[in-house]
């Protein structure tokens, strides 16, 4: 077992453990922090899977953006209610049942197939460049739409929250 493999398994376990932590945690804030851990480990796994650009995006956008927004939301709601953000659980049986069932099913499929990864050296140097080219050529339309979507989401989110404020006033 080399170092790389160790790191790989380490991050896998971290991701799995933090995900489990989210499931078990009753505190929203802790859960958000564990999600952060989970996202970072996944970013590390991306790096190990030769997807550096995705990993960076993951860290920047998710860890830096989304999660901050979420934590901000958590703070806001707990401030509004003034109660500690303890969360109850429902549907435990149904959730465990469907989770285990789905996992068993997926694991079954995964085990059945053999995914032969090509053994020749993976070209990683051109990846970033290729992605950039792809955005501008083959994926230009989705890229533009994604941009519009982002804009729309931003305006929408701002609008929804501003209604709240205007109503509150």
């Amino acid at each position: 077992m080399n170092t790389l493999t160790f790191i790989f398994y380490f991050f896998m376990l971290t991701a799995a453990a933090s995900a489990t932590g989210i499931l078990l945690s009753r505190n929203v804030f802790k859960a958000a922090l564990m999600l952060l851990v989970c996202l970072l480990s996944i970013a590390a796994l991306y790096v190990l899977s030769f997807a550096e650009f995705v990993a960076i995006t993951q860290i920047l956008v998710y860890a830096g953006g989304v999660l901050v927004v979420i934590i901000f939301g958590i703070m806001l709601t707990s401030k509004l209610s003034g109660k500690p953000l303890q969360v109850g659980h429902t549907n435990i049986f149904a959730a465990v049942l469907s989770g285990i069932l789905l996992f068993a099913l997926l694991a079954n499929f995964i085990t059945d197939d053999v995914f032969a990864v090509p053994q020749h050296a993976v070209e990683t140097q051109g990846a970033l460049q290729t992605i950039g080219t792809n955005f501008m050529t083959a994926y230009s339309l989705p890229f533009e739409i994604a941009g519009i979507l982002l804009l729309a989401a931003l305006i929408g989110a701002a609008a929804i929250t501003s209604f709240m404020k205007s109503k509150k006033v």
Binding site: T90, N91, A94, A95, L97, S98, L101, L102, L105, F109
Partner: protein, 644 residues
């Protein structure tokens, strides 16, 4: 009703139909009379009945001793088999028609006095008319189905009349009992009809009896039809309605006992007795014998005037049925006729007693049960006419020479005597002799207690005779209890009413009867005189042996009578009650089964579907997470289903 074919002249037909339908007209007129004019019916109904009786009499005189005639009427046709409503005219049916209409007329007449002031006169006279109509239908019918129709209608009329006083709960119970016991017999009758129909394809009596030969099925058929007779004529197992039916107005009892209801059974037996096989006849004879004995013994220990008379009717009917059982139809018929008159006389006289005492009580404001002979006594001074008529009727019932009852009983006795000697005929003879003995006893006791001695519960106001309109019919009937009704010779029953019999009148049997009746009279005089009044004195004085004998005899008679009464009241009534309870129990059980098992199953299905509904409804609970669960589950199932 189509296809009338006239066998005789239209005048006769008119008379017959008038005699049959005028009582029905009386019924209709009474029903349609407005309530505020209900007094009209008490004029109108006897008048119609009088016309009916006259018509019947005209028909009788014009057809007396002619050949039997048949009016053919088709009621309806099933497939190609017509059900006829033929009318048969013979000496018997015409005579019966006259008897029914005359007695009914007299009862109507009597009722106008007896029921005066009743607040439901309309219903009363309507049903009297209907009762008469039904009975006349039975008399004339030549088809078992038509006969059954009128047979049931008689039951219905008796239900209405016995239950005339609806506010009396006992009247309701008695009428119900009468109808149901009759219905039980009628069910048997109906089975008999089915057997006859299935085997011959006809229900016409003349047609049925003309074949001559005897078949296997006849035993079953005749016994089933006899079931109907048992119900209607109050024979052995089904008689208990008869004494209970005394809850009805007294004239109704007279009608039931004399001419209309109980006579119907005997008349039916007379009509169809050729259908009976020897085996069936034996059953008939034994039933009649049992009824006669039970009835007479029970009569001996009753205290209610009307119940005594009811039991006596029962025993006399038993004698008639017994006579038919040994094949002596004419004798039975003769007794039926004489009985009709003297029993009507007795009932109406009893009614007069009750009526007179009631009126006296009303004026004196002093109340006791006027029908209980223990409360009566010494009425001969106050009610001389009634005493006389009661005496005449009673004498005829007891079979005292010079009265019609003597002759008709004599006819039966001679008939029994002339049959082949066998265990059955001997036992019948013994039964006959003892029943006639007991008849004397209870008749004597009844008359003695009512009219002789002193008033046991004296009223401050002396009872007076009922009005003429009530006395007249009674007197007429009392005169009809004399021997002249039967024949000129007071000791020979073969006379104008019974012109010929295939057994002869035996002189020494007559002599024996005279002696026997005399002995019975003597015994009863001693029994009841000693038992009731200063018994010790007479016992101690002369007749130690006699007195002991009479005491033992009295005791035996008393015990057997109470036993009979007990059987009647406890066992047979108890059986009926028990079966009624059993019915109710079974009914409750079936009701329970119905509610619990059958309904339960249905409700179970409903609950099941409701549960499924609630279960599937829970999918739509408006909870996102549950929706997600079901969506995921569906996807999983879909995956398993498609990919496996």
């Amino acid at each position: 009703m189509t296809a009338l074919s006239f066998h005789t002249d239209p005048t006769l037909l008119l008379c017959i139909f008038a005699a049959l339908l005028l009582p029905l007209l009386s019924f209709g007129a009474s029903v349609l009379t407005p309530r505020q004019y209900s007094w009209l019916v008490s004029f109108n109904a006897p008048l119609l009945l009088l016309v009916s009786a006259i018509c019947a009499a005209v028909a009788l005189t014009s057809r007396w001793n002619d050949d039997p005639a048949l009016f053919q009427i088709t009621w309806f046709t099933v497939g190609d088999q017509p059900l006829s409503a033929n009318i048969l005219l013979t000496n018997t049916s015409l005579l019966m028609l006259v008897v029914v209409s005359v007695i009914s007329f007299l009862v109507h007449l009597y009722s106008t006095g007896y029921m005066a002031g009743d607040n439901d006169l309309k219903k009363y006279f309507a049903m009297l008319g209907f009762f008469t109509f039904s009975m006349q239908g039975i008399v004339l019918a030549d088809n078992l189905l038509i006969l059954f129709v009128f047979w049931e209608l008689v039951g219905f009329s008796s239900y209405m009349l016995i239950g005339h006083w609806t506010e009396k709960l006992a009247a309701g119970q008695a009428s119900k009992k009468a109808f149901i016991l009759n219905r039980i017999g009628d069910a048997g009758f109906l089975v008999g009809l089915m057997i006859v129909w299935a085997n011959t394809g006809t229900l016409g009596i003349t047609e049925l009896l003309s074949s001559g030969s005897t078949y296997q099925w006849q035993t079953a058929a005749s016994l089933c039809i006899f079931c109907g007779v048992i119900g209607k004529s109050a024979q052995f197992p089904l008689f208990s309605w008869l004494p209970d039916a005394m809850e009805g107005p007294t004239p109704v009892s007279a009608l039931i006992h004399a001419a209309t209801m109980v006579a119907a059974g005997v008349y039916l037996l007379v009509r169809i007795h050729p259908l009976f096989t020897p085996m069936a006849l034996t059953v008939v004879a034994v039933t009649g014998m049992a009824t006669a004995i039970i009835g007479s013994l029970a009569a001996l220990f009753q205290y209610d005037i009307k119940r005594i008379l009811a039991y006596s009717t029962m025993s006399q009917l038993g004698l008639m049925v017994m006579a038919i059982g040994i094949g002596i139809v004419n004798a039975a018929l003769l007794h039926l006729f004489t009985h009709a008159f003297f029993k009507a006389c007795l009932f109406l006289s009893a009614g007069s007693v009750i009526h007179a005492l009631h009126r006296a009580q009303l004026r004196a404001h002093h109340h006791f049960d006027v029908q209980d002979i223990r409360n009566l006594g010494g009425l001969r001074q106050n009610l001389p006419v009634t005493f006389l008529t009661f005496l005449l009727g009673g004498a005829s019932l007891a079979g005292i020479p010079f009265f019609s009852g003597f002759l008709s009983k004599e006819a039966i006795l001679a008939a029994v005597w002339s049959t082949d000697s066998s265990v059955l005929s001997w036992s019948l003879l013994v039964a006959m002799v003892s029943v006639s003995f007991i008849t004397v006893l209870y008749t004597f006791r009844m008359i003695w207690y009512i009219f002789m001695g002193e008033a046991r519960k004296p009223l401050p106001v002396a009872p007076v005779e009922p009005p003429v309109i009530m006395r007249m019919p009674v007197v007429l009937l009392a005169l009809c209890s004399l021997w002249l009704v039967v024949s000129w010779n007071p000791f020979d029953f073969i006379g104008w009413l019974l012109p010929e019999a295939y057994y002869t009148h035996v002189a020494w049997v007559t002599a024996f009867s005279v002696v026997w009746i005399a002995a019975a009279l003597g015994v009863s005089y001693f029994v009841f005189r000693t038992a009731r009044f200063d018994s010790n004195a007479i016992l101690e004085n002369a007749f130690y042996v006699d007195a002991a004998g009479s005491k033992v005899l009295g005791k035996i008679v008393q015990i057997s009578a109470t036993t009979a009464s007990h059987i009647d009241r406890k066992w047979i009534d108890g059986l009926i009650h028990g079966s009624a309870y059993a019915h109710i129990t079974i009914a409750h059980i079936t009701g329970w089964v119905d509610r619990t098992l059958v309904d339960g199953f249905v409700n179970g299905v409903a609950y099941l579907s409701k549960g499924i509904g609630a279960f599937t409804r829970s999918f739509q609970a408006g909870k996102i997470q549950v929706y997600i669960f079901w969506a995921i589950l569906a996807i999983i199932i879909f995956l398993i289903w498609t990919l496996k």
